[in-house]
């Protein structure tokens, strides 16, 4: 198969009573996670791509095919869902309950011999061939969702949309499906858009992430870039970054920057563009990057900067890490450390401890504005298209 890399371009606006959706996306053969709270417009974006919802204006284009176009000066186009035929996987599977798994998968391929053979191959690919003749209610949730994915693939569309597809499933099943999804994407060069409000899911499956809030994209970029350089405090909070510090820039030097935080000097790496000296900035330090300091041992390079003193006020075991809250001045700093760390240190509540973190751990966020760190080029005008 020598199909060139598919490209999906989405630029839509739609006003709802409680939400104005304004989304611009360019997705290639990759897994893009649409992440955001309920009601942010994630589902509506998928519905617009599939043709189940009509935007007020904009364009949706897959390669040379215009799915939707409503722009002044351009011909209006709105392909019905059945002519877009994008793979769409719903949260509650939406399998046809009166058909077997095989009949479900054969629905888009046609129920003739060839269609059924193709459907069977897809079930085989999803490791479900032995369940081909079961009805959906005789399958587990994970199996049902595999059938649903096979059925979506049967449309032969380069696009696969997943709408909270795995959120009703148990964690081990979900992990397996995430792995399968990544393999499928790479194998078939699919444009995958994965909608979730679960941060763990986003990290488990995504290559790039678009963070949606109130119908708009706050930030889009690789997971790494978005975590390292959140566009604003809202994004940082949605990404689960804790330990917010508000301070004033007192000095900038090459790639170093110093903040004054309530009289304490904090050293950080300088973001680009550099904030001006005297400006107010917000900074985050990930809880797992803050260390406790052994008073009787020499300082390691992890803690020879940004040494602060505070009192332990709370400690709790977490799912993966142990959490300790330290009150520094009036601010609560959360520290997460491995279960086996600090066994030689008294971390009981009320203890006064020293904490430290590296300048590289401090994430500086511009005070205002919506920074979109997209590496994708802006869409080129499309001169030729077919309807």
């Amino acid at each position: 198969m020598t199909r060139k890399q598919p490209q999906l371009y989405v630029d839509i606006r739609r006003r709802f009573p409680h939400l104005t959706l304004a989304i611009q996306l360019q997705v290639g053969a990759e897994i893009l996670v649409l992440f955001g709270p309920s009601g942010a417009g994630k589902t509506q974006t998928l519905q617009a791509i599939a043709g189940l919802m009509t935007p007020d204006e904009g364009q949706i284009i897959l390669d040379q095919t215009i799915f939707f176009q409503r722009r002044p000066g351009l011909p209006s186009i709105n392909l019905p869902p059945r002519r877009r035929r994008v793979g769409y996987v719903f949260q509650h599977y939406a399998l046809f309950p009166h058909m077997t798994a095989l009949e479900n998968v054969a629905f888009p391929t046609g129920n003739d011999a060839q269609g059924r053979r193709h459907a069977y191959e897809l079930l085989e690919r999803m490791n479900l061939a032995h369940l081909a003749h079961r009805k959906p209610h005789e399958l587990s949730g994970g199996q049902q969702q595999r059938v649903a994915i096979a059925r979506a693939l049967a449309t032969e569309s380069p696009i696969l949309l997943l709408d909270e597809a795995f959120s009703a499933l148990d964690q081990p099943v979900r992990d397996q499906l995430h792995a399968d999804l990544r393999t499928l994407q790479a194998e078939r060069g699919l444009v995958v858009i994965y909608v979730t409000h679960n941060l763990d899911d986003a990290f488990a499956v995504g290559q790039r992430i678009a963070i949606l809030r109130e119908g708009q994209i706050e930030q889009i970029g690789t997971l790494d870039a978005v975590c390292r350089f959140p566009a604003n405090t809202r994004v940082a909070r949605m990404l689960g970054l804790s330990n917010m510090i508000k301070g004033q820039v007192v000095a900038v030097e090459l790639n170093r920057l110093w903040l004054d935080w309530n009289g304490v000097r904090i050293e950080a790496t300088c973001p680009s563009p550099a904030p001006t000296v005297g400006s107010q900035v917000t900074a985050f330090v990930r809880s797992e990057e803050i260390r406790l300091v052994y008073p009787d041992r020499p300082l390691t390079r992890f803690v020879d900067h940004n040494l602060l003193s505070g009192r332990i006020v709370e400690r709790r075991p977490g799912r993966r890490l142990y959490h300790v809250w330290v009150e520094v001045g009036t601010t609560m700093i959360e520290i997460a450390h491995p279960y086996t760390a600090y066994t030689g240190l008294d971390t009981s509540i009320g203890q006064v401890v020293q904490i430290g973190f590296r300048p590289e751990s401090v994430v500086i966020i511009p005070e205002a504005g919506r920074l979109i760190t997209t590496q994708q080029p802006v869409a080129q005008p499309i001169s030729e298209y077919r309807r």
């Binding site: 189940l52 035929r85 509650h92 629905f107 709408d163």
Partner: protein, 234 residues
Amino acid sequence: MNWSAFWLSLQVAAVATVCIMSIGLPLALWLARTNFPGQTILETILMLPLILPPSVVGYYLLLALGRGSPLVEWFHIRLLFSWPAAVVAAVVVGLPLMIQSSRAALANVDPRLEQAARTLGAGELRILMQITLPLARRGIIAGIVLGAARALGEFGATLMVTGNIPGRTQTLPIAIYDAVQAQRYQDANLMVLVMTAIAFVGLWWVRRLERSPEAVTPLSEVLQNDQEATAIVR
């Protein structure tokens, strides 16, 4: 046992059932799918024959089919006091049951299944034939059975529009009334038994349809919260 009345009743009920099906199903589909101003009023009017005294329905039918009605004046179709008038009466009283049952079943079909079918390349007719109707089939069949049973048992309105002409317009319920009036109780007993048996079998079948295991939505599906999935906006 009045066999001519029995066969006439079957004939009326059969024709009426076909009419109930072919009028009721599209109407139920339309009512389940659209929202328009005055919908509640239209639905109320369609349901009225369930509640109104049969004599009132019969009187309206007399007006609709009798002299001075458009049917007679413009099309010269005279139905009164013939068996087709009994069909009309049976359809009017049977239709509400058909509409109510099949409308509820059609509205119960998860719109997400139809959305899914659309994204899978199906046109609206294919979705109707392969998804919507098969999934609503129990309710539709129940509606047809109830409508047919009601059509078979129609008495009051039929009496008013067909009269009571033995061998020509006398249906089984009217024949029973006639037999009781004439104190032919043995005749009446047998016909009452036949009617009861037919009604029982019909209702029993409907109950079975409703209670069969496949008709029940799996509890897990009901319990799972819907969240955004319900926010299907057109």
